[in-house]
């Protein structure tokens, strides 16, 4: 774009401001400005550091530059939505700079779950020009009766990190909200901001409501990043995921750089790495910790310190994956393999937010397989070979929540709402029949047995102009329930962690605490804590003096290896030329494997069979990711059971599935066991049996509003009862198996088993290409998985066996040499 075009687009005040900051206006920033001014919606794809957020706000700032600050407003002009509260806060802070420096008469405010009640009320009465918020807070705003007025003058909606939520339930709730905004404010333009994605057109669809034209604008790519692998002292552990062996080397890197972001894959790993770094921290470097379980204030403190440049390093989980702009980070360290190329690029993008300078990153593999994976991830990242995910089908539980939201705000006409809902890309294929059944569920439960006519949640308004009246929330209880349970994130119940009677350090999942005995120690918030007991819904702890922690192993945050990376790992294993730059340890490991057995190849499936202890092990080198392997393990052990092989258990890693049993299968048996029909009846049956459907049902039931979300500490005051979702599931399944919530549950489970598709492709690929190798002992490649052994077990169906074993162990322990035990039985 030439200078004249630039000046004409950008008001002088803005041009001067850019100039004064020593910045060049990016082409994509001007392209966004001109598209939005022409009334178009758009998706902006740009790497971090490309001034993406500013590009998003520029049209609004220009439009509002001449606003009369004294004019009475009833609604907002621009709505900014980000998936992360932290990001909202950060963007709000960054937005203050241009507003202040240009002296723009613009009010901008944040509104998230952390915003105090009085400020929320003020925002509703006196709307700011620009409101920065989250998908949940948007849903809440839409549930108020003044929503039509509040959003009537809305001109622009900016959705940040759109790629990160596009295929989630949160994203679906958001797009339903956007469809409503498009109806309340037909003039509104939708701006999506996204990192580079494999399928931009699909992401852009989520910005498309009605007939507004839609552009995809691409920012310039930044300089190619420099990514290396960090192998301390040339040693790589056999197994494990924590990579604690590398902490001293990571510390050295932190010392050598100005500011380092240390990304890890799980919260538990964050705690351990953080503690390890501080143990070495003789220089007293300012090293912080950031993960989703920490108390909000704690996280805000770290973010603020980071923004001030007061920290030398932060150990973080995905809680910092997304766009917070810190500018001065000169090194990103990824501890543990990154599991996907897109994720790696996203994280590397956190370093050095200047487009023309390369980001610098180091990957720290935790074990030998991860060395291969890191190498594969670097290749993929440099080739921009991004992970592609299948689109998520519409979720009926989210729809139910949205219907209730709108019925809280005012009267809902099902015909009009159906049109509105299907204008959202995710719901375009929703049949009217399913919509009606979800609507009926919201209204009166939608059961075949009409038991709830007296207690409908929606009541019908009187007819108008010969048309049947719309439906709205029947009473304030319904409205309150909606607002208490808004959102799609159903986490395990959380308990606050407190030091004595002092302030809360953060939260842990209830099930984790369940395994603790008073006196047990664990790492939390960077401290070694001693568990004292549970008091009033809090985990009361004291500071532990010393000793080995019993580490929290959080369920969340472990993504499976993507298929793209898996294929690259197989290629590296197959091609010895690609192995020459591998660390000596790893090369030696592969050499030993070739000597004792063979190395897996790309085109065939290697299965090793060997005895160990009194058991027969099978190790299958599938490389399909942990989740697919887990499903495979469930199904395979079922089939082994039927084949009389007496399976005892299995363990899955991202690379390998290992089972142990009393019998060893023959080649023909293995071929039969891994036949494609495994995904037919066996899968179906397992789904019905397993806890997978129960877990899905619990989530669906909470999101759809059948049962309450648990609010720890409130049970007491609100005399509300946590309903056991399992009991409800059993009853509903038995009496109305086709109820819409069960349909939603099955769809949910099928999606959560997305790796089933992957498994299907895998079974097809390896048909007739299975090499079963009978060996007399464990092989080098099998060692890592056997070290992990014992962490996963055969599914629910083995519950009785496990209980029996536990009982036997306990009884043996408790009664050894004691007669009369049988007297009571």
């Amino acid at each position: 774009m030439d200078l004249i075009a630039t000046t004409s687009l950008l008001p002088p005040r803005f041009a001067a401001w850019f100039h004064g900051r020593g910045w060049q206006v990016h082409d994509h920033q001007l392209a966004v400005l001109s598209a939005v001014q022409a009334g178009r919606s758009l998706l902006l794809i740009a790497p971090t550091g490309g001034g993406k957020t500013l590009a998003g706000f520029l049209p609004s700032l220009v439009e509002l530059a001449d606003a009369d600050p004294k004019a009475k407003r009833t609604g907002i002009h621009t709505l900014y939505i980000s998936p992360l509260k932290a990001l909202t806060v950060d963007v709000a802070r960054n937005l203050e700079t241009p507003i202040a420096e240009m002296g723009l008469p613009i009010e901008s405010e944040t509104r998230t779950g952390d915003t105090p009640q009085n400020r929320r009320q003020r925002q509703r009465k006196h709307p700011p020009h620009i409101l920065l918020t989250t998908p949940e807070s948007l849903a809440l705003l839409l549930s108020y009766s003044e929503a039509p007025e509040y959003f009537a003058s809305l001109k622009t909606v900016i959705i940040d990190e759109l790629h990160a939520i596009a295929d989630t339930k949160r994203g679906q709730l958001l797009t339903l909200g956007l469809a409503r905004l498009a109806r309340l404010a037909p003039q509104c333009r939708f701006l999506g901001l996204s990192a580079t994605v494999a399928a931009p057109e699909r992401v852009a669809q989520h910005l498309n409501y009605g007939a507004r034209p839609l552009d995809i604008i691409r920012g310039r790519d930044g300089a190619q990043p420099e990514i290396g692998i960090l192998i301390p002292e040339a040693r790589v552990p056999w197994s494990g995921r924590m990579a604690l062996h590398a902490v001293p080397a990571i510390y050295d890197e932190i010392k050598r750089h100005k500011t380092t972001l240390v990304f890890v894959n799980t919260r538990a790993q964050a705690e351990l790495v953080f503690q390890g770094l501080w143990r070495l921290n003789d220089d007293n470097l300012a090293i912080g910790l950031h993960h989703g379980s920490l108390a909000v204030e704690q996280r805000r403190k770290i973010e603020a310190a980071m923004a001030r440049g007061a920290l030398r390093a932060v150990v973080a989980t995905s809680s910092l994956d997304l766009g917070i702009d810190w500018g001065d980070i000169d090194l990103v360290i990824q501890v543990g393999a990154p599991k996907g190329a897109s994720r790696l690029l996203q994280r590397i993008g956190r370093a050095n937010h200047r487009l023309d300078e390369p980001s610098r990153a180091l990957l720290v593999p935790a074990n030998r397989f991860e060395v291969l994976e890191c190498k594969a991830a670097i290749e993929a990242a440099l080739e921009k070979d991004l992970d592609e995910y299948p689109p998520r089908p519409y979720c009926l539980d989210v729809l139910a929540q949205h219907i209730l939201c709108l019925a809280c705000a005012g009267s809902v006409d099902p015909d009009a709402l159906y049109l509105e809902v299907t204008s959202a890309a995710a719901y375009a294929a929703l049949p009217r029949e399913e919509f009606d059944r979800v609507f009926a569920f919201v209204r009166d439960g939608g059961y075949a047995l009409k038991a709830y006519d007296r207690w409908k949640r929606l009541r019908q308004m009187p007819p108008e102009n010969g048309k049947p009246g719309g439906w709205r929330a029947a009473n304030m209880t319904v409205v309150r329930q909606y607002r208490m349970n808004v959102g799609t994130i159903v986490e395990a119940p959380m308990l606050k962690v407190r030091l004595g009677r002092g302030q809360a350090l953060g939260e842990v999942e209830e099930w984790f605490v369940q395994g603790l005995l008073p006196g047990d120690t664990f790492m939390f918030a960077g401290r070694l804590l001693r568990f004292e007991g549970i008091r009033e819904m809090s985990v009361v702890c004291s500071l532990a003096k010393s000793g080995e922690p019993k580490v929290p192993v959080y369920g969340g945050g472990r993504l499976p290896l993507t298929s793209g990376l898996a294929d690259r790992v197989r290629a590296i294993l197959e091609d010895r030329r690609q192995q020459t730059d591998l660390p000596h340890d790893v090369q030696e490991w592969l050499r030993l494997q070739r000597w004792r057995s063979v190395v897996p190849t790309r085109s065939r499936l290697l299965i090793e069979s060997f005895p160990r202890g009194n058991k027969e092990f099978l190790v299958a080198y599938c490389f399909e990711g942990r989740i697919a392997h887990q499903t495979l393990g469930m199904l395979l052990t079922r089939r082994m059971e039927r084949a009389g092989l007496k399976p005892l258990g299995f363990v899955a890693t991202d690379y390998v599935l290992a089972t142990w049993a009393l019998g060893a299968p023959t080649q023909e048996q293995v071929e039969r066991l891994l036949a494609e029909d495994m995904l037919g009846d066996d899968l179906e049956e397992w789904l019905e049996d397993s806890s997978m459907l129960r877990r899905s049902f619990r989530n669906v039931a909470v999101i759809a509003g059948l049962i309450e979300r648990r609010h720890p500490g409130e049970e007491k005051n609100r005399r509300q009862i946590t309903f056991n979702a399992d009991l409800i599931y059993d009853v509903l399944r038995k009496h109305e198996p086709d109820h819409i919530l069960l349909r939603a549950t099955r769809q949910d489970a099928a999606w959560n088993l997305a790796d089933v598709q992957r498994l299907g492709d895998f079974l097809k690929r390896v048909r007739g290409r299975i090499d079963l190798r009978r060996l007399d002992r464990v092989t080098p490649l099998a060692v890592p998985v056997l070290v992990t052994l014992g962490s996963e077990q055969v599914g629910n169906e083995a519950m009785d066996a496990l209980l029996e074993q536990a009982a036997a162990d306990l009884i043996a322990e408790a009664t050894s040499g004691e007669p009369g035990q049988e007297a009571m039985l």
């Binding site: 029947a474 409800i728 009496h735």
Partner: protein, 240 residues
Amino acid sequence: MSRTINVSWHGTSLQLDLEGALYWPEERLLVAADLHLEKGTSFARSAGRLLPPYDSAQTVARLERLVAQYRPLRVVALGDSFHDRAGPARLDGAVAERIRALSDRVDWIWIHGNHDPLPPKQLGGRGAVEIAIGPLVFRHDAHREQPAGGGEVIGHYHPVASVSTRGRSFRRRCFAIGRDRLLLPAFGAYAGGLNVREAAIRSLLDSAARVALLGRDRLHLFPLAAVLPDATLPPFELLR
């Protein structure tokens, strides 16, 4: 596979059934506690939660199966048969008739509970505060004083037990068997549970007590001392 275990208790021989009921063959007596019929509709009424309205039908169907299987002469519903006083009025007509058919076939006794102090008249059977047979007394809640030499069979507490084994934990309904007290699990489809390690239950049992946990296909005996407490506990009164 056996769906029951036999317990010798105070000179009697009792069968604990996987469904959560107790059968005393010598007396041809079947006992089920805390049916909590119409708990589902009670939530619609009080909290606007529209749970699947099939819990009563399911609970009754399980009772029918047990009656068909054991052919008892007498059935004791050990109190809290309805979730609230207005429950009988909300009961679906067809389900009510099925209960009536059962109570016509056997000597049906509604023990009074705290949720339903009076027997539901239209359903047949007779009401009682407690019933004593031989060395055993059947009542809803425990008496503080124990008659010497006898055993007390009670409901009310909805015992569940948590067991953790090889990294997995299970929380299931259970019988709790002490020297002089036997606690039945809640039988109702929607009835919640209270961990047996809670003081409210533990104080009723001696240290050598056991629990019989309702597994998937069979029952499992554990010493009370070997099962786990819950991490968090809503107060007892909220659970029923």
